[in-house]
Amino acid sequence: MLLIPCPWCGPREDDEFTFGGEADIPRPADPAALTDEQWADYLFMRDNRRGHHREQWCHTAGCRRWFIVERDTVTNEILGASIYGDSP
């Protein structure tokens, strides 16, 4: 059971949240201009890192905000959380 630090509501148990996968995968500005390979890379390919991982969470049962969590995927240690816009 993870305690997810919602930037608004503070740490809450993970069943209040929805996991949104890897962060920092912006939607291409002009999908039509992409090759099938480039589109597949956006759509499916993931770093799936062991260790430091930036990921999206939504406080579904709480404030309904999406935000970014940084977590070590091996130890599940939470390294930080940030609000969209505030994060690099």
Partner: protein, 201 residues
Amino acid sequence: MSRPTPRRSPLGAIESAQPRPQTAQLSERPFLTHINLRADPADAEALAAIQQVLGLQLPLTPNTTAANQELLAAWLGPDEWLLLSQHHRSDSLVTNLQAALTGHVASVVDISAGQTVIRLSGPSALDILARGCALDLHPSVFPPGACAQTLLARAQALLIAVDDTPTFDIIVRRSFAPYVAAWLQDSARPFGLHFPTSDPA
């Protein structure tokens, strides 16, 4: 077209719960006005306009409420609030707010019929809630005036600490109300309590 029509609350049956102040009591606060309000907290003008209508300042601190005689505003998100009132009619409150907010990016939506308020009050209220709520509701952490959207068993709920009896208002969506009431009733068993309530099914 304005003849009064009978309204039905999801928990009609527990309105008649026998008060057991010495332990805890469960009751429904039906037919309150519930308004979902969205506005940009950075839009000072909009906030002022809202304060004008409500007569109170919207709480900007997460998980807190602000209240006056007529109305309570609960923080739901950085740009979202729930307005709860026994005093205001929902349609007039919506109209006034929408009027006050013309020209601003905001949303005022009546959801009164979509949810209800369950009130749990009494010395064992905390222990009963602890059966299904993972939050630390100890008064040192969750004093009167605090609120939190969270899970109560397997239902989403908005908890509001009302006073230090302690008393909690539990706001749930209409279709979940029977389940939540049944859960609270079951959780009260270790304290020898039985609340008359409708079957969850």
